[in-house]
């Protein structure tokens, strides 16, 4: 049987995932509607890959610009929130194993978490 505290923790994790996902989708939708309102008639061509401008690829700058009201940055903020939810999930696993004193899996969860954080903080 699972301990009651673990069950509570799992319920919290489930809720955090749902709230995180909903928040991410709402932010993306708001950014999208506002973006179309501003640039809906503009012509875009994605046939050749040129990469996004700096303000849409750096985490800190995305957050900064989103709060200044840049609509593409608001969409990217939604994307960042989406990317954050699995990271929170792995972090929650680490806490659960720490609580259970299952140090082998604390270590394994920490490995996965550090690979994810490496990816998120990577700079070109």
């Amino acid at each position: 049987m699972k301990e009651p505290k673990i069950v509570i923790l799992e319920t919290i994790v489930g809720n955090v995932l749902r709230v995180g996902l909903t928040l991410a989708l709402v932010v993306t939708l708001i950014g999208g509607v506002l973006f179309l309102w501003q640039h809906g008639d503009q012509i875009y061509d994605y046939h050749l890959f040129s990469g996004e401008p700096f303000f849409l690829k750096d985490t800190q700058v995305i957050i900064q610009r989103a709060f200044q009201g840049s609509t593409p940055a608001i969409i990217q903020l939604g994307v960042l929130l989406l990317i954050a939810t699995p990271v929170i999930r792995v972090f929650a696993c680490l806490i659960i194993y720490l609580y259970q004193r299952d140090y082998m899996y604390v270590l394994i969860a920490a490995m996965v978490l550090s690979i994810l954080l490496f990816s998120l903080s990577w700079h070109g």
Binding site: G32, Y44, L82, I83, S119
Partner: protein, 278 residues
């Protein structure tokens, strides 16, 4: 095309992709990249970025519901995620070097495999295997809820499963897909986990694997807001409504239809790739 036209086309296509993907169990990610590449003439690198974000959204959406049901084996997931995430990082490096036509050919080939693999899914329910030394060391053996109480199972062949997961992680990053078919193959067929455990465990792993490459792709500038927004919203709405309707729809006919569609798309991706039309 204007921003309006791009968003309307991509949103409707992604809606259908998410819907069919969740009904057939193949995942919507498989046809997002072809939709963007063949339908909207988008460079495949942008398409991969947008598709990966949609994969994270659907995986999170599904697993927030499964967390408490006791099916997924979190230890197996975490242990194998060390393989899928490192595989994903390798995939990112390879994707950045590969030309668009080559990626298109590889994508078509993987689609062919998925289309065929979908016909012989579902493993047996026989899990009477002796305990495996490595699996016991990593405390992977567990039990799952059935109608007649908790049923134990013994995890087998961890090294082979680990290897396939590494490849699955690489392909996920390289092609912007969840690699769900390959993950279930490793869990179900090689490591002999019960089918329901394989499916939910694989779903948890898909989101984490996609995140490992999505972070870097974001910083590399592969993730375009105008393309990603309609893909994410379309796929998630489509797959949630698909899951709702699942009990009322005959999925077998649909599976054949979807597999046929994927086959046609695969042929086109390979053809266009070979002729440099991508």
């Amino acid at each position: 095309m204007t921003a309006y036209e791009i968003v309307i086309i991509i949103f409707s296509g992604s809606l259908i992709a998410g819907f069919l993907g969740s009904l057939s169990g193949l995942g919507g990610g498989l046809i997002i990249v072809p939709l963007l590449v063949l339908g909207v003439n988008v460079d495949i690198h942008y398409a991969i970025g947008a598709s990966l974000i949609a994969v994270i959204a659907t995986s999170t959406g599904a697993s927030s519901a499964y967390v408490r049901e006791g099916f997924s084996n979190i230890r197996v997931a975490l242990l194998l995620e060390t393989a899928t995430t490192i595989g994903a990082l390798v995939g990112v490096v390879i994707a950045a070097q590969m030309s668009a036509p080559l990626l298109s050919i590889l994508f078509g080939t993987i689609l062919l495999y998925c289309s065929f693999a979908s016909f012989y899914a579902n493993g047996s329910d026989d899990h009477a295997f002796p305990p495996d030394k490595i699996a016991t060391f990593f405390k992977l053996n567990s039990y799952y809820p059935t109608a007649s109480g908790n049923k134990p199972y013994q995890v087998q062949h961890l090294p082979w499963g680990y290897l396939v997961m590494f490849i699955a992680g690489g392909l996920s990053a390289l092609l912007g897909i969840g690699s769900g078919a390959l993950k279930v193959l490793a869990l179900d067929k090689i490591m002999k986990l019960p089918f329901k455990v394989s499916a939910t465990t694989s779903n948890f792993m898909i989101g984490v694997t996609a995140t490992a490459s999505a972070g870097i792709y974001l910083h590399l500038g592969y993730i375009d807001p105008l393309l990603t927004m309609p893909v994410v919203l379309g796929v998630i709405i489509g797959s949630l409504s698909g899951a709702r309707l699942l009990p009322y729809i005959k999925t077998n006919t649909l599976k054949y239809l979807f597999a046929g569609l994927i086959l046609a798309i695969a042929a086109q991706m390979i053809y266009k790739g070979l002729h440099g039309m991508i």
